[in-house]
Amino acid sequence: MFTIFGVPSGALFGQLLIGLINGSFYALLSLGLAVIFGMLNIINFTHGAQYMLGALAAYLLLQFAGIGYWPSLVIAPLVVGALGIVIERCFLQWLYKLDHLYGLLLTFGIALIIEGVGRHYLGTAGLPYTLPDSLQGGHNLGFMYLPNYRAWVIAASLTICLGTWLLIERTRIGAYLRAATENPTLVRAFGINVPRLITLTYGFGVALAAFAGVMAAPIYNVSPNMGSELIIVVFAVVVIGGMGSILGAIVTGFALGVIEGLTKVFFPEASNTVIFVIMAIVLLVRPAGLFGRRT
């Protein structure tokens, strides 16, 4: 074992791996945000509350219907995605032509309502949700003990992120979506139902958030506050990556998770501010973000 900057190498690799795990959550959430902003031009502040609703749905499915973790991974995103579609049809569709600020204010308000109602009925101490049996335990990698569940988080997150990127950048439906964002009138003239495409896209972004929520339920505290704690960091990640860029969101999510992990080793007291420091620097040097297109 050698030491790097006074920290044993084993400890450092362990922290890097943990940083990668946290980065998985940042990547999944910022992907949803980037999809919604890139395609719909809506700054979706409800994303954190929808992440919380995903975890809550998983908890409720287990408590009242006995439905375990694996089915919840599919059911919860569908349910919360449907709720997202309702929000889009009722409120958001009127705001597309307006300034970004209106969308931000509306979604922020909806987030506050969802979290407030949750807090009223559930308190803040959190609800217990146990690890699924098939993913309990872990492996001793020598330099650290890696729980199986956390390894699964990295794998699932990478798969979903890559799958979404492929879907949007390399398939026909993704091409329709990107075209509809650039020039909706022309795309409509080709016979494509643009409003429905946009609604489904919002639902998909929300479903991504809910999926991250179900994955978080066994390891993080399922409480109404869980989204608001994470959403500010995720916004910083999206801004650094570039607001409309899918690839930027994914890469930046993982990278910043690793950087935050390293900060926790060398200067733990700063670990919840380092991402904002980086955001400030990036905005000064490249205002559109690292991967963003200048509009």
Partner: protein
């Protein structure tokens, strides 16, 4: 004719006001954390406890009018100070209760002293409130970091836990708890192998737990509270900390936290508290009444909620003895001269430095098989009498005492 009517009206008014002159008005402000990591251990439950105390007191003293208001300090010292100033200058509040978060408490204590209100601090933990930062108007109820360190720390070291690693919340409370517990560990022959400080309200402890694992300390001391403690223990289970032979020492754990963790994860945890709902007939009866006032399903009272009730009752008794709620310093002095007696803590007293004294209890969380139902969480392992549970008066460094 008009003069006679006028004189009669004046006489009537004087007589009426004479009857009202005996009415004593008291306004109590519960400053608490309504929405964040301490909300279940304090928050709306503390407001319910204060309202219960007010109602109980007004039943026996019909000439009292006690009003309870509340505010959320959001764990920010500047909001706390701003609220207290507004309460003093605009709302004419006489007593500030609860205040979880030692950072906020330490910030408002001198303001309350200056405005001549009374601070019934049943929420904060830092032992500095009766130490170097003591004030003539501060009454520290429920617990403090010295009591927690001595109760839990000594018991664990004596049980063989002689090497420690601290996971500390990076603000006044965490620092005080870490300092007091490290002193106890070293005084009893143990060693502190290291520490890491995390920001308050952290959701992911994996990298801090990894550092704790790599220190190879037998005991990982959790110098944090509320949501932070819950997350540390939950994620510690995931990383195989207990399976790997290390143990958690919950330095500040409340009953609602144990309920949130579930017995499967929390079993075996040992910690010190001063109240448990199922301790005796009196606490059980009080819990039923608190539950009715709280009016929300499935909530357990914490020792902080009990502290708000006991502190408010004792405060009101002192006001009754003096006849008015105007002079905070005089009321605090009266509270120190009267012995305390309530259904939640039993018999006790309040010292010159503001420290409330009553017995403390060492609890161990039950195994799931031992529990007879929701809320049946603790086994009582030891009772620490009042004169041993808290820091000796001479060791505090409070200027009110040594001066």
């Amino acid at each position: 004719m008009r003069k006679i009517v006028g004189l009669a009206a004046l006489a009537a008014a004087l007589i009426c006001s004479g009857a009202n002159a005996q009415q004593i008005n008291v306004k109590i402000g519960v400053l608490t954390d309504m929405a964040s990591l301490y909300a279940d251990d304090t928050g709306p439950g503390s407001v319910a406890a204060a309202k219960l105390a007010a109602a109980d007191f007004m039943k026996d003293h019909p000439n009292f009018k006690v009003e309870v208001i509340s505010a959320d300090h959001q764990n920010k010292a500047d909001i706390g100070v701003q609220t207290v100033n507004q309460w003093a200058d605009v709302d004419h509040v006489n007593m500030v209760a609860d205040v979880p978060n030692s950072g906020v408490a330490l910030a408002i204590a001198p303001v309350i002293a200056q405005k001549n209100m009374v601070f019934v601090a049943s929420g904060p933990a830092s032992s500095d409130l009766t130490g170097p930062k003591c004030q003539p108007t501060t009454i520290h109820m429920t617990y403090d970091t010295w009591m927690l360190a001595n109760g839990t720390g000594k018991a664990i070291v004596k049980n063989g836990g002689d090497t420690w690693f601290f996971l500390t919340s990076d603000y006044a409370f965490g620092h005080a708890l870490e300092r007091d517990t490290a002193a106890v560990v070293e005084a009893n022959g143990g060693k502190v192998l290291g520490k890491v400080r995390h920001p308050i309200n952290t959701s992911d402890f994996s990298s801090f737990l990894l550092q704790a694992q790599q220190s190879k300390a037998k005991i990982i001391g959790l110098a944090n509270a509320g949501g932070d403690t819950i997350n540390s223990i939950k994620q510690g289970a995931e990383f195989g900390i207990v399976a790997g032979g290390q143990k958690f020492a919950g330095l500040l754990v409340f009953a609602p936290d144990v309920a949130a963790l579930g017995l499967k994860t929390a079993q075996g945890l040992m910690f010190t508290e001063t109240f448990y709902w199922d301790l005796n007939d009196q606490t059980r009866a009080w819990t039923k009444r608190w539950d009715k006032e709280r009016n929300a399903a499935g909530k357990l009272p914490s020792m902080n909620h009990a502290g708000v009730y006991a502190g408010t009752m004792h405060y009101l008794k002192a006001v009754a003895a003096l006849g008015s709620a105007a002079d905070g310093k005089a009321i605090a002095a009266k509270m120190k001269s009267m012995p305390t007696d309530d259904p939640v803590f039993g018999k006790g007293s309040i010292r010159a430095d503001g420290r409330a004294l009553h017995p403390a209890y060492l609890f161990e969380v039950k195994k799931p098989s031992e529990s007879k139902g929701p809320g049946d969480l603790y086994n009582l392992r030891a009772t620490i009498p009042a004169d041993e549970a808290f820091r000796p008066l001479k060791d505090g460094g409070c200027p009110l005492v040594s001066g």
